[in-house]
Structures are given as structure tokens and as C-alpha cells.
């Protein structure tokens, strides 16, 4: 936990903001993973007692800064959006288990929906750096919600879909996940709303592609002490409620049990 300083905060689309602040740790010496999250206090008022989890989106090693990209969802993120450059930010993290990177892979498929896209940016960067072929398939409601496309494009090809066709193809991400298309990849990495993850898991199980899902459950502590954020996970033949903040938020796709 640290009080860090906001170095930039900009509205990047309709209700979407990009927030950059000093990393709470030394990025050169501390291990972090794409898919991990930061647990942020939006104010010190008791009106918003709990922290908000936001995915690590971009890392600036040079200036030791981190960036998150978020949508104003409710009152807490609305309050966050009023913070100014120079303000202090109470940040815990990066926390949790992120995406595991497989050095042996040649081509990775990244699948993101809405504000599930942010963690894929740092992931894409790291995979690209390893020399992998990266292809991101990202879906949004409309062009008003589209984010981080040019960031992703730095590291590979990007297929964009929107519900209303206002940018990219009209449709949802699973529309493009045909088996022929998926055969070109060694692995997939997904993040997005639960219905999307469920559909992706199903489609890519059929396509026989291994992968990871990043789950989104309501969190309390973010560090494993409240047991509030669980999701059913199948391991060793048993289904157990596992803490998504500690054992996750990223799980191997085949482990995740959806109801």
C-alpha cells in the first residue's frame, strides 16, 4: 500500500479514462505480471469504504509509472474520475496471479471485451517482446466504448468488433473464433464480462485451444483475507470456491466452472 502521485489522467472516450501514476514499487526490481490488478481507494471517505480493482494496463519502466484504463461504472469510479494530476492516490498492488507467459509459444490469441481489454495491452507487449505473433480480437458495444486499439496495434494485428458495427465488424468476439482461425495459435488469453468468457471457453474448448480466463468478481480486501471474491474452480477433480484476488484473477480456462 502506498500513496502515489497521479502524473496524468485523461478521458479517452465516452465514459472511459486513462490514469497514470507513480508505481508503488520499483518496477526494475519487483516482479509483476500482465493480468494482475491494482486495488485503488477512490477517496478516503467512508462513503466508498472498499477499494476498486483495476487491471494493470501499461507499464512505463523509464519513469516507474503504471497506467490503468477504466470505465465509469458506478459512484466509485465516478469519484475516481474527478482526481487531478498531482493528487495522491492510495494504491495497493499489483496483486493476484496474472497471465502465465509461455516462452515456447509462437502465436498467441488475445480476446478482450469492453474494460476487459486493458490487461491485454501489457500482455501483448510482453508476448511481442518475446517474438511471438500476437493477434487481438476485441469487442465493444460501439465506437464510443472502443479503447486501446492503437496500443494493441503496436504489438500485433487487431480485429475489432462492435455490437452496432460503428467501428470494426458488427458482431461479437466469438463470431471470429472459428476453428480454422484458432488453429493458427498456440494459446489464448481472455478478459471480459462473464457471459463473454463463458462463450469463449466453450468455443475454444471445441477448437481444442488451451488458454486463460481473467475473472471479474466483486472484491473486498484484494489480498486474500475476506474470502469475498470467490469463483468455483475445478482442480484435481474437485470443485472449490477459490479467491480470485489471490489464486486469480487469471485461471487456466479449463479449470473455470460457470453455472
Amino acid at each position: 500500500m502506498a500513496l502515489v502521485t497521479i502524473s496524468s489522467h485523461t478521458r479517452i472516450n465516452a465514459d472511459l479514462y486513462e490514469l497514470t501514476f507513480t508505481a508503488p514499487m520499483d518496477l526494475q526490481t519487483t516482479r509483476y505480471e500482465p493480468g494482475q490488478f491494482l486495488h485503488i481507494r477512490v477517496t478516503d471517505s467512508f462513503d466508498f469504504l472498499l477499494r476498486r480493482p483495476l487491471s494493470l494496463c501499461k507499464v512505463d519502466l523509464l519513469h516507474n509509472r503504471l497506467t490503468v484504463v477504466y470505465r465509469v461504472q458506478g459512484a466509485g469510479t465516478k469519484r475516481l474520475s474527478t482526481k487531478q494530476v498531482g493528487d495522491a492516490l492510495d494504491v495497493l498492488g499489483p496483486l493476484g496471479r496474472g497471465y502465465q507467459i509461455h516462452k515456447e509459444d509462437h502465436a498467441s490469441l488475445l480476446i478482450g471485451g469492453g474494460v476487459g481489454v486493458p490487461p491485454l495491452v501489457e500482455l501483448a507487449r510482453q508476448l511481442h517482446e518475446l517474438g511471438q505473433m500476437v493477434h487481438a480480437v476485441v469487442g465493444f458495444q460501439s465506437s464510443q466504448q472502443a479503447i486501446l486499439l492503437s496500443d494493441l496495434a503496436q504489438y500485433g494485428s487487431v480485429t475489432v468488433l462492435t455490437d452496432d458495427g460503428s467501428i470494426g465488424k458488427k458482431g461479437i468476439v466469438t463470431d471470429v473464433l472459428r476453428t480454422e482461425f484458432c488453429n493458427g495459435f498456440d494459446r489464448y488469453y481472455a478478459c471480459g464480462p462473464t457471459p463473454m468468457l463463458k462463450a469463449v471457453q466453450q468455443v475454444l474448448r471445441t477448437a481444442d485451444l488451451p488458454g486463460y480466463l481473467s475473472l471479474e468478481e466483486r472484491m473486498g480486501c484484494g489480498i486474500g483475507i475476506c474470502v469475498g471474491c470467490v469463483h468455483p474452480i475445478m482442480r484435481d477433480g474437485h470443485v472449490a470456491n477459490m479467491k480470485t484476488c489471490k489464486e486469480g484473477p487469471v485461471f487456466a480456462a479449463e479449470e473455470v466452472v460457470f453455472s
Binding site: M1, F46, L49, R218, G220, I225, V227
Partner: protein
């Protein structure tokens, strides 16, 4: 602000049962797991004691998600006693805590029927490293049993007698605030042999997700905790401590050192800190430090001077 180390002159130790706690602050059950995660933030030996997550006879998966909701100055939880079961706790968690030699460990015990509780206590009685048991007869998140013990004085007394018959260490009974008459509950437990009382557990509450038109928690209702409930907790501690002769642990909304002072003055001998740990992993040690500074600034030499200080003085 002076640091904790600087204030040697304030004596924070409090006697509690047969123990001498190095300070009156301990994390509350279910709000600290079994200590492992927080040990990455600070040395657990700094705590007055630790109360671990409710332990049941068999492993439990708890309720479905969502299990948490934020409320004004508080939160709702419907964890539903998820825990690995007493055998696993004895095998994996208690040995870990035994490393902390200066840390009294209190194990919170839960169940559905008296026999479950008795069996858990029997097994825990084999473990050397436990300082006391805390009987959770007040969890609002378990449908069958659980809560009844916490709201019926006869049943509570029966439970306490059964546990006292098998326990070889002190038994703290944790009371539910969801009752008409907390004093009656407290007296029933005292008479039945409770060594101490802890209060309060959570108030039963609900939040509606107006967008989805249904209760936000998958379980419907949950337990309300945090600063919002502090006035109810302080009132109950004040009333109960005026009626019983056993020590009391105050719980509910403790966020700062001054909140500890408030509970002590109301008659508690120690406090537990729950929700605050979720907001700030360092909450307990920060609160201990703030308590020391407050005492120092107010000329309080021993924190025991504060216990019951808000009560009418005898002869006044």
C-alpha cells in the same frame, strides 16, 4: 505524530483471561484469514492476539458470489463460513501461527448443531498453541442452525455448557446484535460458564441491485459491518459490561485508535478489528500506534485506566 516505538511511557498491556495481551487490539474472525497474507505486511507478533476465520467440522464452500456489497460507511458480506474444516486448520494453519511465539491465537468455532461445535472443540483441545476459543453462535450467513443459538438465551446457554464440558482452554462467546435483549443473551452465556464475551457480530442487512431488480448478494441477506454499526456495538458493549462480570471484547467499526478508546471507555477490555483490514492491510498496527499516541497525549499511563471510564463512577 510520535511513532509507536517512541511512546515507551504508555503501557498498552491489558490482562485478558489468564493472558496478558501486549495491547488490546486483535483482528476479528473472518477478516484476517489465518494470518498468512497479512504476515507479508508486518510482523504478526505486534498484535495483541489473533482471531482466525470460523472453523467448522467439515470443509465448507460457503455461499455463491457475489458475496460482498458496499454500503454507506459499511459493507455487507455473505461468505457463509467458507473454511477448509478443522482437520486441515490443525494440520496446516495453526502450526504456521505457532511460529509467532508472542501471538495468542484465538480460534473461532462455528457449526450447525451443538454436536458439531463439541466435536470441533474436542479436536482443537489437542492443539497446544491455542490461547482461547471464540464460539461463533451468531453468524447470520448460515441458514440452518447457527443464528438460532445466537438469538435464544436458552439455546445459547445449552451450547456454552456443552462446550465448557469439553474445552480445556477459555471460551469466549461471540454475540449477535440481532436480538431484542443483548443483556439477557450475555447473562445466559455468563451463567452457563462463558469465560468472556465478544460483541458484536454483524447486523443482518440487504442491498437491492436496482439495475438487475434483485438483491445484490447471491444469498439475499448478508452481515453489515464497518463504521456504520459502531454506535450499535458501543451501546451493546456498554449495556453488557454493566451487567456481567466477565471481560468483554468490543467489535464493530473500529477504524482508528480513538475508536479503541471509545470501546474501552464503554467497558471493553480489548477490541477486534474487522472491516478496517480490508481497507488498509496495516490497519491493526496503525490503530495500535494511534492508541499509544492518544494515551500519551491524554496523560494516560496504562491503557487499563480507560476500561469502563465512561461509566457512572461509584459514589458520584
Amino acid at each position: 505524530m510520535k511513532s509507536y516505538e517512541a511512546i515507551h511511557q504508555v503501557d498498552l498491556t491489558v490482562p485478558f483471561l489468564s493472558l496478558s495481551l501486549k495491547n488490546p487490539v486483535m483482528p476479528a474472525s473472518g477478516c484476517f484469514a489465518f494470518g498468512r497474507e497479512i504476515s507479508a505486511f508486518y510482523d504478526l507478533n505486534r498484535l495483541g492476539a489473533i482471531v482466525v476465520k470460523a472453523t467448522t467440522l467439515d470443509e465448507r464452500q460457503g455461499n455463491a458470489s457475489p458475496r460482498l456489497a458496499e454500503t454507506p460507511a459499511g459493507m455487507l458480506n455473505s461468505i457463509g463460513l467458507q473454511n477448509p474444516g478443522v482437520e486441515c486448520v490443525i494440520r496446516e494453519d495453526l502450526p504456521y501461527l505457532a511460529i509467532y511465539e508472542q501471538l495468542p491465537v484465538i480460534v473461532n468455532v462455528a457449526g450447525t448443531a451443538i454436536e458439531d461445535y463439541v466435536e470441533v472443540v474436542k479436536r482443537l483441545s489437542q492443539v497446544q498453541s491455542i490461547a482461547a476459543l471464540e464460539l461463533n453462535i451468531s453468524c447470520p450467513n448460515v441458514k440452518c442452525g447457527g443464528i438460532q443459538f445466537g438469538t435464544d438465551p436458552e439455546m445459547a446457554a445449552e451450547m456454552v455448557r456443552a462446550i465448557k464440558a469439553v474445552a480445556n482452554i477459555p471460551v469466549i462467546v461471540k454475540l449477535s446484535p440481532n436480538v431484542t435483549n443483548i443483556v439477557e443473551m450475555a447473562l445466559a452465556c455468563e451463567t452457563a460458564g462463558a469465560d468472556a464475551l465478544s460483541l458484536i457480530n454483524t447486523l443482518i442487512g440487504m442491498q437491492i441491485d436496482v439495475e438487475r431488480k434483485r438483491p445484490l448478494l447471491a444469498n439475499g441477506v448478508g452481515g453489515l459491518s464497518g463504521p456504520a454499526v459502531k454506535p450499535v456495538a458501543v451501546r451493546m458493549v456498554y449495556e453488557v459490561s454493566s451487567a456481567v462480570h466477565i471481560p468483554i471484547i468490543g467489535i464493530g467499526g473500529v477504524m482508528t485508535g480513538v475508536d479503541v478508546v471509545e470501546f474501552l471507555m464503554a467497558g471493553a477490555s480489548a477490541v477486534q478489528v474487522g472491516t478496517a483490514n480490508f481497507v488498509d492491510p496495516y490497519a491493526c498496527v496503525r490503530i495500535i500506534e494511534e492508541l499509544g499516541v492518544w494515551c500519551d497525549e491524554h496523560g494516560v499511563q496504562s491503557v487499563t485506566e480507560l476500561i469502563g471510564a465512561a461509566k457512572p463512577k461509584i459514589g458520584v
